[in-house]
Amino acid sequence: MHMSLLLRKALLLLGLTALITPSGVEAQLREIIAKNVGASSSGATLELAFADDGELAISLDDGDVLVDGEVVGSFESGDELDAAWRTLLGQAMALENGALAEALVSWQPPEDGSTQTLDASQAVDEALESALRNVEPQSERPEGSLTISGGDENPLMHLLVNSMGRLGVLEEALEGLEETFQIHVDEDVVIEEGSVVDGTVVVIGGSLRVEGGIEGDVVVVDGTLDVRNDGYIEGEARVAEARVVRNNGEIRGGIVDVLEDERADESEMRNRLRDEIREEIRRDLRNEIRSVARFDDDESFSIMSPIRPVVRGVGGVVEKLIMVFILGLIGAGFLAFAGENMDAIADTARRSPGRAAMVGFAGTFLLVPVWLLGALALIVSIVGIPVALAWVPLFPLAAVMAAVLGYITVARNAGEWLADSNVPWTGWIRKSNPVFTLVGGLLGLSAAFVAANLISIAPFLNILSGLLFAAGVIITIAAAQIGFGAVLLTRAGRRREHYGTYDADAAWAEAMGIDVGEGSGKGSKNEG
């Protein structure tokens, strides 16, 4: 039993010794699993991925020196740092893993240059060092002594078995401490009044009551530090998951909470999680509200159920009005910059709507084959490949523009017809103003849709609403096909199908209100 305990304590000693062994031992370099070395005129980048999942990215880019995405300094193109970094990356390109790590660690940053260059160089060097070394390089430490004492067998075993967590904390707590160590595991320690201890006292899983003096540092992990009257600690009190009670005692080196950073990280993570959850809830709520507003397929009863048809109907009307507004703007643009072309297209659409519609339908069916065959022919010719690159996106664009131009032109014709008609609420459409006729025509062509939407608000009129909607679709297709055909027939308005001629007899007859014979008011067809 006694032997067993000794063995276990020895094992624990081995673990702890590994933590506090002075670093005369050569630090091991991390294994590089992947690298990415890039260089261009604006900068040079090194990205490393380590076998233990860590990563490092250092880049000199556009005047900034970045380590893992954070700016740590600046450089100027061609300065000492830039030159040294590019030289290093030139070597890095040809090296892998161990040889690469050694080359990077042994890189000597430039010693000349401006302060900013030297600072940035130092930052890069430190980043390389800290990322590539498993063990931080430490200064030589004088030989010290190590005393370990512990409670009974079970706590020692407990510590050994669960050492990973505590050892990690210990590693941080013991960093940089020197001199002699007294380590107490799972036991309470009292430094009695009048006694003075030299060196560092480490208490793990127990309480340390200081009534005398400690001429060194104190480390308490998972326990309590109690500094009583006249008690003092000359160095730092480093605590991790520990409580500090200062009953008029002195801690001259101050208290260092080893886990403060971790707690800050935890707090930050908590905040971030809270924000993400909050954002997720908001997003869900927004989606819920949207789905209610859109009246998605969910027709189940909700508080919005009674007003759904109203919102749906009014929404549809607003949608149509926005479409009319957008097409009106596009049409105004066509009128301003291609008015004559629109006239020619409108003339053809007005005089030969059947022919235009046939050409429009044929054109629509041929669009895709023409597009594909054109692209294929250009690609096959090899030399036509650059043209094919333009053909593939531009041909569909031109087809859409032709259809829009045609539809708008037909809408203008419809507006002119409405202006001459006695249809109610069309008195505001003036033929003298082409924009008015255009907008009037667009509204006219959309009237069936608008009516369908408004009627859908009322209950039990779904069939009528559906019929009106179908009528709207037919009107729209017809207008688009007639317009598209007219655009094709007139080569986008550049070649007139019909030319009107001035007919003096017709003008006289119209002015005087009399009939002067045949042919009045008729234009003659002229193939241009």
Binding site: K35, G38, A39, S40, S41, A51, L89, G90
Partner: protein, 279 residues
């Protein structure tokens, strides 16, 4: 070796870029990944335009990729997730790079001996691909308007069920098909000049399906390999010197006794087909 020196020069130029290439946006990148184990990998490589080189590598690397590309428009892709490795260059807006007034270069070295399903897609490139030494379990090669030379210079140590070659408008040559160690090889060529070399070490009987649109096809057949050719063509001439017509098929004289036989199904529309015997 010559290629490696070329890359060193290219990188050196890039590293001297502030002096030599002010105003240009060419970037030179070297990427690599250590070989962690010999588990099978699915490798997919896409490259649009430029020079495209693929070969095997002896070092303990899964891959090494040297790239030269216009960083304003494109970005390199090197993604290794699970057992999938995706490499190449894509435009910032996604998709392959198909522009190419002054094209870049991609040189890729893949680990020898690691079982891999290999998919190579490239566009208007000048390609030199040597698959010798790679342990391939599947091969899909697809190219657009390219000038491609594919060589399987060493036998594939693993058996491959299927290898597919697709070429659009291309000058496309494959040598050493015997080394692929594939049971079934499909070649789908659109327009251009195609050379299929059946040299190499055949380890089993195989089927070779060839579909060709318009162009010339050269079949390089090593002496001693049993060949049976079935042709279904519209307006394609066949120079079948050395093959004997038996019914609807053409066969090599020693087809019945040959150690390994390859049955070729040829479907060609327009063009010429020539059989050339090689030693």
């Amino acid at each position: 070796m010559k290629m490696k020196r070329g890359w060193v020069v290219a990188v050196a130029i890039a590293l001297l870029a502030p002096i030599a290439a002010e105003g240009q946006s060419w970037k030179t990148v070297t990427m690599s990944r250590q070989l962690e184990n010999s588990d099978a990998v699915e490798v997919s490589v896409e490259y649009g335009a430029g020079r495209f080189i693929v070969r095997s590598i002896d070092e303990d690397l899964l891959y090494r990729m040297n790239l030269r590309y216009d960083e304003d428009k494109y970005e390199p892709v090197a993604d290794f997730t699970g057992d999938r490795l995706r490499l190449g260059v894509e435009s910032h807006r996604g998709g392959m790079n198909i522009r190419g007034r002054e094209a870049g270069e991609l040189e890729l070295e893949l680990a020898r001996g690691v079982p891999m399903d290999l998919e190579l897609k490239f566009g208007a490139v000048q390609a030199e691909i040597d698959l010798g030494g790679l342990a391939l379990t599947k091969l899909e090669l697809s190219t657009g308007a390219s000038e491609s030379l594919v060589d399987i210079s060493e036998p594939n140590p693993l058996q491959m069920s299927k290898a597919t070659f697709e070429a659009g408008a291309a000058e496309f040559a494959v040598h050493g098909l015997g080394n692929l160690n594939a049971e079934h090889i499909t070649v789908d060529a659109g327009i251009g000049s195609i050379t299929l070399g059946l040299e190499g070490r055949w380890q089993r009987d195989a089927e070779l399906d060839i579909q060709m649109g318009l162009g010339s096809l050269e079949l390089l057949i090593p002496e001693g390999l049993g060949i049976r050719l079935r042709k279904d063509s519209f307006l394609a001439s066949l120079n079948s010197e050395g093959l004997i017509k038996r019914g609807d098929v053409y066969e090599s004289p020693d087809f019945a006794e040959a150690e390994h036989r390859v049955v070729i199904d040829l479907d060609a529309a327009f063009g010429s087909i020539e059989v050339i015997w090689v030693r």
